[in-house]
Subunit: 423 residues, 2 copies
Amino acid sequence: MTTKTIKDMLGRSSLTPVHEATSLLLDQLKKIRREITTCSLPDALDRVLAIDILSPEDLPAYPRSTMDGFAVRAADTFGASSSMPCYLEIDGEVAMGQMPQGEVTQGKCFRIATGGLLPKGSDAVMMFEHTIPIDGKMLEIVKSVGVGTSLINTGEDIEKNAPALPKGHLLRPQDLGLLAGLGIAEVEVFARPKVGILSTGDEIVPWLESPPPGKIRDINGVTLTALCKRLGAEVTDYGIVSDNEDIFFATVKRATEENNVVLFSGGSSVGMRDLGERVIEKLGSPGILVHGVALKPGKPIIIGLTNNTAIFGLPGHPVSAMVCFEFFVNPALRSFRGLAAITHEAKPTISATLDRNINSAAGRLDLVRVQLQARDNAQPLAIPVLGKSGSISTLSRAHGYFLIPEDAQGVHENTTVKVHLLQ
Amino acid sequence: MTTKTIKDMLGRSSLTPVHEATSLLLDQLKKIRREITTCSLPDALDRVLAIDILSPEDLPAYPRSTMDGFAVRAADTFGASSSMPCYLEIDGEVAMGQMPQGEVTQGKCFRIATGGLLPKGSDAVMMFEHTIPIDGKMLEIVKSVGVGTSLINTGEDIEKNAPALPKGHLLRPQDLGLLAGLGIAEVEVFARPKVGILSTGDEIVPWLESPPPGKIRDINGVTLTALCKRLGAEVTDYGIVSDNEDIFFATVKRATEENNVVLFSGGSSVGMRDLGERVIEKLGSPGILVHGVALKPGKPIIIGLTNNTAIFGLPGHPVSAMVCFEFFVNPALRSFRGLAAITHEAKPTISATLDRNINSAAGRLDLVRVQLQARDNAQPLAIPVLGKSGSISTLSRAHGYFLIPEDAQGVHENTTVKVHLLQ
């Protein structure tokens, strides 16, 4: 396991570029077998398909009208126009939810409503809007229609045995609708990823306790748990663990045996970071994948892997911890969920105008938190939320963030930036 | 209650522009009182604050170091550089999680790790990287620091009694982190909106049943339920209701008494639409707000209001029903959740290049479903997913959609379009 290293400004650390760290991690994770479970359709929302689904039947099973009007033989309407209408005899009516009785013969038509089954003999639907009733029996037609107009054919939505949804597909509301339409009552999905979360550091107390001087409440445990839950993970809380190496090692080891992903966060001090690295190395092969990335905030992250469990040593500062979650833990959880790689790389953003100059060091990816402010007749203004990476309130005040790439040394005032929402 | 009407191409309907329909609806809804409930902090994820929260204390409570290094008196470092270093005596060390013992006096410093409390007398932290240890007692300093460098002051994250989070704020993971940091164990939030869903039409059978010829499974009930659940609503299923006006009226009436929002969907036929309008009018004032919008797909929506419950008669075609949900039900549910209006109007999108010409009728908003395809060194390609609005599979194949505004008659090939993801 080698990681290409670049030196920081003082030449004392070796940092991995963000995209290399991500590739290294995801390449390792995709080799891991994911568990599969069966889930009833209504419970499958936001789960990920573990198998390709073929359609068990034609949808719709019969041709149906998509308009209110008249089931006709298209050939009977050829050449019809408002200056030269043609005339059809109304010979019947399609009752909703029933097989139509009778057959549409030449020069005749059946009344039909949206959703009605096309009667035998007809091959198109003439919308009401293009007809003028002469009396109860006779209809004037002011437009011609082609075969197949205003109807949905057998299997036109989806054909029997055609691919309905592929393995790795996230089941969104419309996908549950499609499967319901096909009568599929349960689906094979990937198991939810299991995540173990612990906080480290002798200065951390549980957030419900009142911290004595020198100690602070556990902010990261709460934030990280909520971030994982939003991604459909099952979270186990391993509490606050002492800086003592034996206790820390024992807890992390147990957490790796019980989860797909383990997150620990705590001191951003060199001592805590060294402790984290030693513990991951001791857990076994392949051990540490990445220690330190060219990202601000978020530089001191440690990423490791042992026995098919990914371990993330997140920085103690709440902002850095959350940024590392977005860049590394989020893709890892997507991978454990079984989500297929998307065919487009882009992420949705809001274009906004930066309201001041922002400097950045070359060689690292900078994340700038911003508030967005609406403007009349112009794209919103992006106003940087300044504050230290230890300041959780900057993340609550921020609507989103934009990135300054590794090869830039800053962004000028009035430049358009692409803002990712923190929603 | 009047709605400005515009005529469709054939002059037979009166349609309301989408933005007018939305304003009309939201203006009515904001007058309704929302219920408030108390929620423990971990359970408050994705709920909406019902009150302004002020910080009960300073965060942090004491000044803390944000770097590994030495607590110094900034004045002792003035003028220090690598060519002209200055020297300080290491006089102590700050233990993590403890009140520091002793005081930093002139010419002296204390060892301190990230997160450590600043000892009395010190007013800045000198990073390790700018120091050279001479021996265990003496330190060479190669850079000067100003007062407040590399530390976070008392109340710098948030001050006691300062606004922490405002009423109407969505509680995201980082917001729970902030509240945990302040020791706030429970919060007042708005109650989840209650939504009643029913499907209408004699041709609809429950999705778990095998439909006889002429009937189809209930797709919309499944899709709409999942859409509501994603928005944190509590959904009650009122099943499939007959086209019989008395039965339909009784069920809708009961649903309006038990919910904030009622959705019915069913036939897109004129008959069904008339039935829906009659039932909403009969329920009482103000009754129908909008019938028919200048939107494709989605034109035949009916929007009503009775006794503080919003009623949506959605088109029967699954695509139209989902589009109407996005444009009208989604904002209504946001309003019932108590979400404050956002300060920026923009929604995040992906810029993509349209791969063919698309026509559109002037005077209506057109929604075009697309797949996105990644390209090397270029923004993704947007490929329209063609298909009828009765075809649910087009929504499963689509990655997102773009809009053609009312004043345009189409979009040319190679134009950049802004794609909203359906994720």
